[in-house]
Symmetry: C4
Subunit: 484 residues, 4 copies
């Protein structure tokens, strides 16, 4: 049998979690921020600290964004004892200083290295230095390691070769005694979804994202049904390209070990607001890590209100940990300027017997979309045989209560003025960090986590929604309560 | 040369069998029942015992269904001495108790483990523990091991890596001294049909079956001519998807070592009666193991009459062991709701000089189908040159004598009342278990094994049949006896 | 750079040959006969001796058919000392007796084993027994070993794994001190054309041939541009299927080491006379080994006159050893009953500055075909820049002088009556064996080796020919002699 | 993340270079001449010396063409001490004599060997002899080694196997103490762009080039989106075939380690003048090594004026080392005689904030082409968000100042008469060798390096050009200077 999800439903969540990841971390997909998408190599201590401060003040920390990750270009190579050194111009006070600061704000410290002789930007890599580098990171108080794949000295080509390379660092990290979330970034080469669950907390499953909805790029060549067999993952992959790749194996992500669809581009300017809503919705529905990649110091109202939507975050962090699956996909005639046009329907189990439904319109025109209960609950019984098809459902729109621009601008202004309240999640309706995650809120039916009721579906009926061009309807079905 | 079948015809069956599988088991494809398709992790001792009792009382045992296989989720991990322990809540009397019970009913005891660090449901796996686990299974009286592929620590990517992993358990099983049928379940990764004949009794050649006739699913991505080169076998593969994959290499199954098309979905509700007839017919024609996957305690008349058809079982268990081959395949315009539509013709040698012909209508409309003797006997001489083309044949319909619903319901009722006869195969016309298999019945021309004569074909003629939408004509050609 | 041919033209033939195969054999493609295609496992000493006698009496020996190869099913396994034993029922006088007989007739003795634990027909294989088996073969006077690939215990998946497996036997054969032509038969898996030149004399580059012109078969799945990347070479491959595969890499065959397109089906009945002419022409043009596969004791006139055509054999055995290359290929509308239809043009350098041109009509209608000198001499200068394009050529039809049926029948009758002349090649116009091959005859302009002059081409002109459905024009261009 | 370029812009060029190639060579793509394309095995000392002399006298040396590379067929095998020996007939004075001569002319000495048991022309290879052969080459004063891939004894199939084979020679070369540029030639097998940057200075990324613009050839089978996954790189690959392959991964070339698109065919006669302009332009734009492959002793005016264009060479040797990327590609209806027809737009960063734009017309008709600034600057900000889109640009045509035929003929005549000036680059406007490369000239705005201003583009505008059939517009955008 293949990996299965229904097992977990039956086995119960407590047992599941005890059984979970090799290091006990990332029981739900990790959340945080990373320097790369917005800043590339142009990073320094000040950027990190200002961003961390912003994460706290805008309420992102309370919503669960925990890790602040320094990507490539922080290094000055090894010193005479072979220890990695931070670039003294960029990080004059050292990395332990920085992690102390982050920890004091209640955030996690993330760093970057590479399972090769050089990092992608050609700084010193960790291949052959795993033990000493893991110890260095631990000694600096690092809580998270993104581990890249450039210049790997030919150590790829079969799962076993790559597994061994990445396991070496896993073992080294665990040997430090410090819990360090291990984010494998080998771009999906050699099928990490086959082997990374027992050695890492997440694995990139594609080439690098670029801030575009669906533009094809010669540098991201693998597409179609066999996109997963990709020895050239590439870069400049569009958001839709990555989504259509992960559609082949969402179930490979399990508690403690997730399909990583790459860091978020929300707010970086290359997509429309609707497109960013699609991006964020699908990353949440597919249980990808949610690592913000924009300049938070300059966040605008629209970006803030996307990244902070608690009803969508509650899908990402749902305790059932069941990803959405693509139920159908059709090409449509209304192609956009890049020649792309399609519609998709996804659904996935949520805790409490709820069901997520996503109607994705990647065509070039607004359209009315619908999904039958038979298709939505296909995995519970093919051909409409599932009992769920025979019942009535209330439909909640998870984007309906998105914070409006005025509120968002007030939050931003308050953060800049340092006048925010102690509980910065207040405007968003739920403080996940204070509550140890989203499970408590879901159990208690905290309204902010359920969006807005917008309709209902009769037994054997259809869910319908108007969906704009390049947008999405993200809906939560809740069993209609029968009056007693 | 490639694997050949005609050799066996020439070499004689006795020699063939002596020469056969590495452990002497599964000289014809194994038959039995498995917990997974109907029950997933929701299993316990009571289910096993009730099902075993039903297997006996409904006559399945006498028809040859021998193994009762407990799939994943039976385990409570390892004890302090490293031995696997059954979950005490599910199996309070232990596994030896259960196998004693099964053996006392004349059935075989099957269990499940995984060639990885964890099973697919994330229980303890056997990778690195093969010897101790094989000994445990043997000590429990286990007769059959299904051995899965999840969480395999990157040990895949070339046939050799995977072969070594599975051979380790083969060696361990053989070392116990107990004959244990070894069912390799690595979903066709690394081409087990190339190497598994000398280390196992069967090998899954595709992703997991789902209870649907032909619905495509993104999670089962490999299709088309190169479907066999699949590094993502997936799950939710339709019955037709698997059939079209095995069409590329039926000959790889040989006595003692079979292409496993996955467990049967007959009776689980996702297909029509006609579709289940196709499913069962093709699994028999292709010499797949026949492992029932439904809840036998709730079996209905239609399901019973499919699974118990002795004329079809006699094809599966034919002593010649020659699979049917796909002679042609055409796409048709009458597509079903999932956009699929095709027709196929298969034929294969049977003992006694008989020939199996299957006309498969996977189009959306009923149609008249036909097959020329030239195409049917292609392998005996291309282009109509085979001597068989020049002779006349009687045509037997292997489904014509399917037990009617009234009879089937009476059998079910009797089983529930525990009033069945000592020979429960009686209503089906042949007791395979009492006769040591189907060869004796075939040699003796037991009528139940030959269906019903429905017509004849003249030399150089065509076999024709009306075939309903999503159904099959399964015919046995027997040389017309010339009056002397 | 890739393998090149023009080097050899420049370097001279003598140097080339000294430099050639690892064991000095098969400087031109081997010729002979093999039991499999016509007889499968139904073989014995009598068959071998009768066939050998026929090879001599029909003149095949004198034409260069040297090796008589016993394929699978000769074995009775290993004796107590681990030595392979022939089946005493089939070969009661042992294999040394047989090789003595063959040697006394001036023929070579060929045998078969398998680089796996079992042969394809499941007799004892040589994997792990290479040294002792090579010694056994040498002790029996064996001159040729066909070495198959079944049941190889997972030892495939990269060129290196497969190379090592086949090299082991190469080393063992060479260590015997007896020159034994080594015919690698791993069906093209792991790209033997990349590595087999230094360890073998030929390598199969496809799945098994079946006696059909172009019928597709599900069991031979690899087609199209990437047909070479085939992990399921299959069987029942049509003649055209194999031809279109080898078209991708003809240059990989070099003196002493050849692309093996599998044994000939000429005379087995599944193709028309024209189709067999295509088959034989292309195998010769591509420098495949020419191993007859029919029942020579029952050869008819048409079959004899194909297999014995010295003008075609002179192409196969040309001392320049340059294969023909496919210059163009077009699909045509006149499809045959199997839905196939295409035309192709091939050309290749011959000794003496001659040029081979093949116009292949695989469409369903007769047609007039032509080829420009620019295309024919493409490799000598692209776009018509070759000096050869500017000269005039005489055109010789290599099939025009094919022996007529009356003559062929007389030869057959004489052979049956044991009244043939000492030089049995006489009716065919050239005794290659007596002359040490075809080079002498070519140098001396023996007419039988050049077919019949049928026309000429002017500078910058076109070669034209009427080519029947499923047939070929096989032409030799010779520089037009300028009158002085 | 994938390899990135913008890092280098930020990091500064000095740091970049210090960090660069494993041996400090080829900081910009190597330039030179090689015997193979024009002469194959027909080489000797005289050819080398005459060509070297011509390189100097025609000004090529001063333009940066430094290495004179002797390809295959120079060898006479190993002597009794295992040292390679040059063929005494071809190189009677030995290789050290030759390298002394070349050095005395200010040129570099290049040689050839093979990472296999034999070279492609079947001379002695270096596999297993890496140390002694590297020492031999160093002792001969060799500055450059092209290292081929024929007859590699199965040592391929995963990046690791191939990496190890090529690294062995890298280590051996470095151990000699002599700086030897290491040109890996394994035709792109096993993805050298993944691993060769740390062991070599360049790697072939495709099968062998043939002197044709776009004719498909069965012997170069890998095309399309997955062309990079090629286990049969082949030969007779057209110029466009190679270009379309490298389009998938231009970024893999970095200072010191380049994608090698194979040696130039400019001047060999198989393409039109326009086509050669395309060829040379694209090789420069993609940062391929520029190794001339024609008979320089017979160079004509057109060939000279292509190979010597300093404005194009300045793109190749630009200190930013950023390749052009393919921004779009469309198939067009005007197909040429080989059935090919497409148009492409490429752009890439140049030093000084300039931008390269290439409009490639591979259709069969002349056409007006254009490119939006939004597309040109896509990588600087998707969807037109880059700041560069909002500014005005001057457009320089890099081919406008190509030397005219009269001038070129005068240069050729002077060279033949040995009357050329001490600075032979004079007619071309820049002496790169005297200036240590092209950076100085670019910094100083030497006019010859910038072509001719032909227009300008307004903010948010389009670059337009008339582009002939099978030709190219190669343009350099320079920020329009605002009048103060």
């Amino acid at each position: 049998m293949a990996f299965i999800r229904t097992v977990f439903i039956l086995a119960g969540l407590a047992a599941l979690r005890a059984n979970a990841a090799f290091n006990g971390l990332a029981i739900t997909p990790q959340m945080g921020w990373n320097t790369w998408n917005a800043f590339s190599c142009d990073i320094d201590e000040r950027l990190i600290l200002e961003t961390a401060q912003t994460i706290v003040e805008l309420g992102f920390k309370d919503l669960g964004y925990h890790y602040v990750v320094i990507d490539d270009c922080w290094s000055a190579g090894r010193n005479s004892t072979g220890h990695l050194q931070p670039d003294p111009n960029k990080f004059p006070n050292g990395m332990d200083f920085l992690s102390d600061k982050l920890h004091s704000m209640g955030l996690g410290m993330g760093m970057y290295s590479d399972a090769g002789s050089l990092t992608c930007a050609r700084f010193e890599g960790s291949l052959g230095h795993e033990q000493i580098d893991a110890q260095t990171f631990a000694s600096w108080g690092v809580d998270y390691l993104k581990y890249d794949n450039c210049f790997n000295e030919g150590q790829s080509g079969t799962p076993l070769i790559t597994y061994n390379r990445y396991k070496t660092m896993a073992t080294a990290l665990n040997a430090t005694g410090r819990p360090i979330l291990y984010s494998i970034c080998n771009w999906g080469e050699d099928y990490p979804w086959k082997w990374a669950q027992t050695v890492g907390n997440s694995w990139r499953m594609s080439g690098d994202i670029f801030d575009t909805f669906d533009k094809p790029d010669a540098r991201c060549p693998c597409t179609g049904e066999d996109a997963f067999e990709c020895q050239l993952p590439g870069w400049h992959c569009s958001m839709m390209n990555i989504l259509n790749k992960v559609a082949l194996f969402p179930e490979k992500g399990v508690p403690g070990a997730w399909n990583d669809m790459d860091m978020l581009e929300v707010g970086n300017g290359g997509m429309t607001d609707d497109e960013y809503v699609v991006h964020f919705s699908m990353w949440a529905a597919l249980k990808s890590p949610l690592i913000m990649g924009n300049d938070l110091r300059k966040v605008n109202a629209q970006t803030l209100s996307i990244l902070s939507n608690p009803a969508v975050l509650a899908v990402s962090q749902d305790p059932l940990s069941s990803p959405a699956f693509q139920r159908w996909r059709y090409y449509v005639g209304d192609k956009d300027e890049y020649g792309q046009g399609e519609i998709q329907m996804w659904s996935g189990d949520l805790s409490g017997g709820d069901m997520l439904v996503v109607l994705l319109n990647a065509g070039d025109k607004n359209r009315n979309m619908n999904a039958t209960l038979a298709d939505i609950f296909w995995d519970h019984g093919p051909g409409g045989t599932a009992t769920q098809v025979k019942q009535a459902w209330d439909v909640y729109d998870l984007w309906a209560n998105r914070v409006d621009n005025a509120t968002a601008n007030a939050i931003i202004a308050a953060a800049k003025a340092n006048t925010t309240a102690p509980d910065n999640a207040l405007p968003f309706g739920y403080n996940a960090t204070a509550n140890g995650g989203y499970e408590a809120g879901l159990t208690q039916n905290v309204p902010a986590l359920f969006g807005k009721k917008v309709g209902s579906v009769r037994p054997n009926g259809k869910v319908t929604a108007e969906v704009r061009r390049h947008s999405v309807a993200m809906l939560r079905l809740r069993a209609t309560k029968v009056e007693l």
